[in-house]
Structure formats: C-alpha cells, structure tokens
Amino acid sequence: MKILVSNLRPAIVSTLLLTLLLGGVYPALTTFILKVGFPHQAEGSLIRDHGHVVGSTLIGQNFDKPEYLWGRLSATATAPYNAGASSGSNLGVNNPALLDAVKGRIKALKAADPGNTAPIPVDLVTASASGLDPEISPAAAEYQVHRIAIARHVDEAAVRSAIASSTKGRTLGVLGEPRVNVLEVNLRLDGKL
C-alpha cells in the first residue's frame, strides 16, 4: 500500500506535465512551423476558383459524366467521395457484392463508350482503400481518352496532353506507382487550370 501511495504523486504529476508538453506544446509548435513554412499544405492543398474552394489536389471527387475523366470506385457512406467519412468497401475477394460493384462499373464504362473493346484496367473497376483516392493509373486514364474526346468534340491528342500534364512517375524512379490526378485533368479539360 505504501508503495502505491508513493507512486501516486509522480503518476499524476507526470501525466499532467507530459500532457501539457506532448498534447499541447508539441502539436502547437508543429502547427506554427507548418503554418509559417507550408501554409498551402497545412490547410489541405485546396484548389480555389475565383475565391471559392472547388476541391483539394489530394482528395478525389466523384465523376460520372462522359466528358470527365473518372476515378476509382468509392465506397464512402451516403455518397461516393464523401471526404467527411472516409471508408473502403471491405469486401472480400469472394463476396458477391464485390462482383456486383465491378460488373456495375463495367456496364457504366461500356454504356458511355460502346465501341471500346480494350481490356479494362483493374483500378478502374475496384474501390480504393480511402474512398477518396485522387488518382488512377495511366492505363485507366488511357482507357477513357476515346470517350472524353468524343463527348467534348476535341482531338484525342488534346485529352492525352491534359492527362500527361497531370501524370506523375514513381518518386525518384523507384517509389510508389505511376499515377494520374483525376481532378487536375478535369480542371485542365475545363480550362480552369
């Protein structure tokens, strides 16, 4: 009992002091440094059009009109790409609901571009982990070039050029995967970037 009592003061006081330091000073200092040094990133890499926020470079948006580049499927609740409630589908490989979602996307892609017989890249028919994936693979972008060009009455070259400007390779040629930022491409196609 005595040993317990003797530990009470250090237990309580150290908890309070460490809370002050690690839950107060440390996050405040981090916020200060980032606010001064990297304000754009700190507030969410937001994109503005005439002062209004149209989105974030890092957060995907839902696109289903034929003239826009489409991103990954999104399994977020109430609506796709709900950035207030990130979520994956959590569907297992054998879950019939997974196949239904895939078939639904295949149907939508075929309906929007009936002549396209190329095999569909896997990331275009599967839901991302976050439900907010801002990117698709270059293969998935290329698959959609024909549809976008027809819908916008422009050359495929113009669409490809918008895609190329928003494509990133692997970091240092090694890390991660090549990818295309969907929102950026669509802003370019609309002449807003």
Binding site: I3, L4, L8, P10, A11, V13, S14, T15, L17, L18, T19, L22, Y26, P27, T30, T31, L34, F38, A42, E43, H52, V53, V54, I59, Q61, A79, N82, G84, S86, G88, S89, N90, L91, G92, V93, N94, N95, L98, V102, I106, P119, I120, P121, V122, D123, V125, T126, A127, S128, A129, D133, P134, E135, S137, P138, V174, L175, G176, E177, R179
Partner: protein, 581 residues
C-alpha cells in the same frame, strides 16, 4: 477459371522497392540503437543541452529522485500506476469531449463502452479503433487525449525493455532501474525529437495540420463535398514512430491527408519498424556484446522478409473472379495491376503488401490498404505475423522484451537437448524464468482462442460479421488476434463498435499488455539477483547462425502450434473457395 496472372508475381520494381526499404532500415539501426543505449544507460547525449533542464524540471515537480532505483515489484507498481492514471484521464476526455474545447464539428461525448474500449486501446499501445476518427473524435480528444498516449505508451515499452536488459547485465542486485526516469527519458530524448522532425517533413509533403473546421468544396460536377481536416501531422508522426497505428481518419494511412505521396509512404513505413529494429542494437550495446543484438535482428528479419514477399506476390496475383470478367490485372509500366480492391493507386500492390506486413510484424496496426479485401493468402500474412506474438521487430520496447521471452525458451530447449543448465549471457535460466516466459507466450494464445470462440458462439459476436463464409470467421479471428497481441489493425468489415466487442476486445487488450509486462519485470528482477557464470567450452553461443535458426524455429513452432487450425478454417478455406471459382 482462367489463369490468374501471366506475369511475374514480384516485378523488378517490387524487388527494388523492397530491397531499398530493408537497406535503409538496417542503415538506421546502428545510429539510433547506439543513441538509445546512451539514453537508457543515463549518459549524456547530444540532446542533453537542449532538453536536460526540462528533464530535471519534471523530476522536481513529480518528486522523483532520479538516482534512486527500484526493485522489480516497485518498478511494476509504478508502471501499473502510471497506466491506470493514463486510463482515467483518457476515459474522461473521451466521454466528456462535448464539454471540452477544440470541437468545431460539435461532436458528442463517446458512449461508456466506446470510451472504455478506446481508453484501454490507447493505454495498451494497441490503438484498435472501434470508431471512425473524423465522425467521432474532436480535435481535443485526438490531440490531447490520443496523441499523448501515442507518446507515453511506447515510452513505457522502452522502460520495461531497459529494465529487462539491466536484469541481464547486472549481478547480485535487486535494482533494475527507475521507471519514472526511464519513461520520461524515452519521451524526451527518443520519441519527441523524432516525432517533431517527422511531423514537419510530413506536413511539408501534404499532411494537413490545422484547427479549422471541416471545409465544404463545390465540386466540378456541382456537388457539395465536405472535407474533414484537423491537426493531423503532429499525430501522424508519433502514430508511426511509436508503433501506435491509430489513425486520425477512419481509413488511417490510406487517407490522402495522412499519407499523400509515395515518399510520405516510405517515411511512414520506415517509422513503423525504425525503433523496434533499433532496439536490437540497443540491446547488444547495453549487454556489451553487439553480436547478441545482431543475432536477434537476424532472427526477426529471417521471419519477416519471406512472409512480406509472399504477401506482395499473393496480392499481385489478383482476383480470379475479375480475370473471368476480362479485367486487366497484369502489372505494367502503366498500372500496378493485381488485387486493387481496397488499395490506393499511389501505393499499388508493392507498398500495400509491404505495409500490411510491416504494420503487423511491428505492433503498429496502421493500414494503407484494407486488409479485409486482400486475397485470402495475402491476408494470412498480417494475421500470422500478429500471431507470432508481436516479436518480429514488434512494438517499441515490447518487441524486444517479447523476443527475449522466446530467447529464454530457445535457450531452455537447447539446454535440454545437450543436458546442461541453460544460460543466457552468463545468467542461469531456471524454473522461475521459464514460468514467467511460459506465461508470456501462453497468455496471448489463450486470449485469442478463447476470445474468438466466445465471439463466434455469441449472437452479438456473430452480428458484427460483414463478409460471408470463411472470410467472416477470419474477421472475428483477426479482431481478437489484433487486440490480444496489442496490434490494432483490423479486417475492418467487422462492426466492432458494439458493447459486446468493445468490452471483449478491451479485456483482451488489457490482459495482452500487462500479463506480459509484469512477468517480464519479474524475470528482470530474478535475473538481476543472479551471479554471472563465466563462459566455458560448454557454453551455448547465442550469437551465431545456429542459435538464430533455433530462435526462429521456436517462434514459428509456438505460433503454428497455437494457431494452425484457426488459419486453416479461415484464410485457407477462403483461398480454396476463391480458386474453385
């Protein structure tokens, strides 16, 4: 059924990324490990001029005599007292967050069972999350409640590790160090500087850090999109460094605001294993024989690398059901291919498989892809890595002391084979040490098997299952395994935010943490009182390849004996269901 994939399961780039990761990790082990040894030997470090005054100030305010050491019972009582106070403070913050500041979304206080589960989860360094961060937690709860525990729980792990190492090094004494000094030095000299650096770098690369309320964007197609924000960078850094893993957002490090680029992903991946791997070197340095530390590092790596390669290969092999629909799953320079359900484009297959392996080898438990959507055998890898008891690198501090439990058993078995009293680093391993080691290895197994059985038999347990068939069984098995071994990752389809799961998993987490810590400290106390036996020709060397092989064998044997039937019922059945089409 069409063949799954025509290309290689491990691409050239996969080999390159994985090799780079292991090389950079190994390069960091020596400087950080040596530095931590100085910290726990009480020596001055290059950080002492910056932080020494703060250290003394805290001792003074707490009434701690830093020169006074403790025996193992006093050390254990201090550990438990500190954890108990942490639990009470965190429970109150969570339950009463509606009355506290920094709650711009006006989120309500957490229910009692969720407050209990979350407080236990963060105090045991598990960081299992029954809730979705952005729809549940105020900025105050995240920053003052959870972030603080993200620091102090790995600090507790490091303290217990330091105590056990002292038990091995010292002779004929009952003292194994001062808990308060070890815990506070771990926070100030190890975790805080590393986290501050990582937080700023992550922030510069796109991880958000703001106290502004959630913002509404007007999208190109004319919808309104709510975008959750918060003080993420400061929490993200210590979440990764301290083998915590509790995400700011629901989808954890898959969220672009937690992990926006391949480079942030590399830094976060490195942070997962950084301290646990460096602890091996710290151990070698503190016992005065670095080969002993390298032997343990080698044993961990020998288990980790093949499982990680297997996980990546299984995910790259894709889903045969999609191949039947003529979906292109072949990796090329234009796409990652493979099983992309529940994975992010920027991470692809390689970084998702590597992360799933690293986060469960260590007791981190963060995710950058949804494990529930992994192929059955790809998902078996994180499951089995947790089942090894979180000793393949493992948690900060807890990985090393957990592995030393297996070392004691390996030495004991070797001793039986040659008919000599087993010794480790000159200390005789006797009945008391073996009893403590047995508790340490058996408790997680009992918790996992009994807990899973209870959940599967109870109506409330079955109600949480999401995916049909064997995958549903795996969801429950994964949750109980994760809680009992203090990992925190999930097959997230399971609806775990119910009173049933919150209480069951809370109890598993508590027992899984403290029923290891107390036996480890008891073992430290017992070892410290012993004399050191001089090495002789009959001494079993514990730094060579033979011993590494024995140690690997013991870890794998205990894991497989405990869990093979459960793995057969879950992932293996699901795999056959997948390939039969």
């Amino acid at each position: 059924m069409s063949p799954i994939i025509a290309g290689p399961l491990l691409t050239g780039n996969a080999w390159l990324q994985l090799a780079l990761y292991m090389a950079v990790l190994t390069a960091c082990v020596v400087p950080l490990g040596a530095y931590m040894a100085r910290v726990f030997e009480g020596k001055r470090t290059f950080m002492s001029p910056v932080l020494g005054w703060l250290e003394s100030l805290i001792y003074k305010a707490c009434g701690i005599d830093s020169a006074k050491e403790m025996n193992w019972t006093a050390y254990a009582v201090a550990t438990l007292a500190f954890s108990a106070v942490s639990f009470v403070v965190l429970y109150l913050i969570l339950a009463l967050q509606n009355l506290l500041p920094l709650n711009p979304q006006a989120l309500p206080g957490l229910s009692p069972d969720l407050s209990f589960n979350t407080a236990v989860s963060f105090v045991t360094n598990t960081n299992w999350q029954s809730y979705a961060g952005e729809t549940t937690m105020s900025y105050f709860s995240q920053m003052v409640g959870l972030t603080v525990q993200n620091f102090v729980t790995p600090a507790v792990g490091l303290a217990v590790m330091a105590a056990l190492i002292r038990g091995l090094v010292r002779k004929e004494t009952s003292e194994i160090g001062n808990f308060w000094v070890d815990m506070i030095r771990a926070n100030l000299y190890v975790l805080l500087p590393l986290s501050l650096i990582l937080a700023v770098v992550l922030g510069a690369l796109g991880v958000v850090q703001t106290f502004a309320p959630y913002i509404t964007a007007h999208t190109l197609q004319g919808a309104d999109q709510t975008i959750a924000l918060g003080p993420v960078a400061s929490q993200e850094a210590i979440k990764m460094i301290g083998t915590n893993g509790g995400g700011f957002f629901n989808v954890n490090s898959a969220h672009p605001f937690e992990n926006p680029t391949p480079f942030t992903n590399f830094l976060e991946l490195l942070s997962i294993l950084l301290i646990p791997a460096a602890c091996c070197y710290t151990f070698g340095a503190m016992v005065g024989d670095k080969r002993q530390g390298w032997a343990i590092y080698a044993a961990m790596t020998v288990i980790f690398v093949p499982l990680m390669l297997f996980c990546v290969a299984m995910e790259q092999s894709g889903n045969p059901h999609l191949a039947a629909l003529h979906i292109d799953q072949l990796a090329s320079h234009l796409q990652a291919g493979g099983n992309m359900e529940g994975k992010e484009t920027r991470f692809g297959i390689v970084n998702s498989g590597l992360w799933a392996s690293a986060t469960t080898a260590a007791s981190n438990g963060s995710v950058n892809a949804m494990h529930d959507s992994f192929t059955p055998l790809g998902g078996l890898v994180p499951l089995i890595l947790m089942k090894f008891g979180e000793v393949i690198y493992g948690g900060v501090g807890s990985g090393l002391y957990g592995m030393l439990i297996f070392v004691v058993i390996a030495v004991f078995i070797s001793g039986l084979m040659v008919g000599r009293t087993p010794e480790y680093l000159g200390k005789k391993i006797q009945a008391f040490e073996i009893k403590m080691a047995s508790i340490g290895t058996l408790v997680p197994g009992i918790l996992v098997l009994v807990g899973t059985a209870i959940a599967l038999m109870a109506k409330d347990g079955q109600a949480g299952i999401f995916n049909p068939g064997a995958q549903g069984f795996s969801e429950v098995l994964y949750a109980v395994t994760s809680a009992s071994n203090n990992n925190g990752s999930a097959f997230a389809g399971l609806s775990a935010n119910t009173p049933f799961y919150n209480v069951l998993l809370g109890v598993c987490m508590l027992f899984g943490r403290f029923f290891i810590i107390v036996p480890v400290l008891a073992m430290a106390g017992s070892l410290a009182t012993k004399k050191t036996v001089p090495t002789s020709a009959g001494t079993l060397p514990t730094h060579n390849a033979l011993f590494v092989a024995v140690l690997v064998g013991v870890v794998v044997l205990v894991g497989v004996l405990n869990y093979a039937p459960t793995l057969a019922l879950g992932p293996v059945v699901e795999h056959f269901n997948m390939i039969k089409g």
